[in-house]
Symmetry: C2
Amino acid sequence: MSIGNVHTYAVIMAGGGGTRLWPVSRKERPKQLLPLLGQETLFQSTVQRLENLFPPERILVVTVEEQAREMRLQAPEIPEENYLIESAPRGTASVVGLAAAVLHKRDKNASMAILPSDHFIRNRDLFHYLLKAAFDVAANGYLVTLGITPTQPSTAYGYIQQGEPLDGNYNYPTYKVKSFKEKPDDQTAQKLLRTGDHSWNSGMFIWRADIILKEIDRQMPDLGSALKKISAAWGTDEQAAVLNENWTGLKNETVDYGVMEHAERVAILPAGGLGWSDVGMWSSLFEVLLPDMNGNIATNSSLHLAHETHNTLVYGSNNDRLIVTIGVDDMVIIDGGDVLMVCKTDQSQKVKDVVVHLKKHHQEKYL
Amino acid sequence: MSIGNVHTYAVIMAGGGGTRLWPVSRKERPKQLLPLLGQETLFQSTVQRLENLFPPERILVVTVEEQAREMRLQAPEIPEENYLIESAPRGTASVVGLAAAVLHKRDKNASMAILPSDHFIRNRDLFHYLLKAAFDVAANGYLVTLGITPTQPSTAYGYIQQGEPLDGNYNYPTYKVKSFKEKPDDQTAQKLLRTGDHSWNSGMFIWRADIILKEIDRQMPDLGSALKKISAAWGTDEQAAVLNENWTGLKNETVDYGVMEHAERVAILPAGGLGWSDVGMWSSLFEVLLPDMNGNIATNSSLHLAHETHNTLVYGSNNDRLIVTIGVDDMVIIDGGDVLMVCKTDQSQKVKDVVVHLKKHHQEKYL
């Protein structure tokens, strides 16, 4: 199957909130809608990454209404009917199911790539190549995952263990999946890195709509039956009402645990060199943006005067405000509107502790 | 001579600018007018420190017009005629001379304590005791300096070497001055600290007005003759015109080098335990303000959420702005209006390099 195939679709998952990039990401301003990479937002670069691979008519976005307004402005080329609106976030299993049901009703031969809206990928050519190869594998009825070859013993991701090479003649090394593993502790992460057969779970999946719907029916029958009702009403006057009616009662479940872990034919393409990052915390920006010769990064139009400063990220919020650093090493400085954060780079995962603290002390205005 | 003596006066020198506490201190907002210590400014606390020692009528302030406006608001108890206004800063020799000339015209028996407006002194009782003792020495015709017993090999101050104990019966150990020394380099500072007979030059002096005027006449005859003209016109309609006319041509000279170094009868009272600081750079605030149990200081009404943070100073500028630090040690964070500065505490003397850089690159708007 070639990517030029008119039955291939991209589904961008964009409903999440998340506070790991607090204080810039907020309840009403989630990560994917921020211009973290300079001019464009992560959502925009996710859409642009699909150029020459999918025409806008074959790109779907699943999100919530609050975010859809902004997304329509950021990616006006995507047709209005391709925005699928969740009345409330119900987990990736529901998102994937909804997209599959809608696409399958539109096109019985639909295949789809599930893509998070808030990740970064430096090597676009390799990404295109991998997607094409994955669609070829999916054509044979496999649920395909893109794995990321680990570069460090990260505890921030789930892991996927590969098994035997998949029978068949494919354009990229492809394996059966042996097991899915939850985010490990430090020691386990060290071990998994050494095994050489574990990949990070990137949250990118490629499959045929009919196959994933069958797996949902088998493993999550409640979701399956809700999707059937939604599908029946899709395109009628009842579409919105039936969707909302069947949506709020759904179990909040990820596609990984709800479907993939016990699915029958699961394959993995382990990808190294993709330059992938989930931009999961401030320190990730050092992987994503290009530091200057001292390792410093000044982003979001910040005016940075760096004096004896190294490996330091400055995120401004005001073109005219001068940010001066003297004798600073390995720091992240976020000059937000109502919050200033100064954080040692290797402690940036602790932003979540601060968010918890603020919630507990009823300081929601800063969240 | 008792301090209750109606012939004793305090002269607060407050004309200076200085950018060592940039970005908070600015050309138009010098250090002494900033609330660095919490509610009150350094100038206000200098005035308050004189309570019960000098009535406001016997406190003079020498400053420039731009600063006088703000000072009159900050210390309204000082009578208007006690503000001596320099048309332009001409160095401490001129300031001291002007104050001495004005006081001597007002009171032929005047003695005066010269006090910088922007220093901090924790131990007010000892300060009062020392001033009283110094006035007793000055009554005998000595030019008296208050020396500060060094606590570290500082290169930021001039040094005064003490000689033999002064003959006479005084209430505090008092010595002849052997020599004045300029700010030393690192190695010299180490040596001076070990000698045990060197004090920091605090810039605080006590003397009789007639004696200092005589020394000025002898060593700086141009200044002496200008002061005579100013003195003759003082209290007449010509006062301001004659002052301005004679002021701008004066040589810009410090009293230390212009007068003290070659004066005839110079004495020193070396003071330990005064809790003195010239608040010369941001790191000084750790000596002046009281850190919490983690060594942190949040000042100027800043809202600081410190997470795994130690020995860090946060200076806010907005009551509602939250400043979060994570994994931060030994830093100074100054959240000014148009400038944010993050500086390793032990590098805070490098603020001056940044100021030089900004001048050179025509960024005066930040100065």
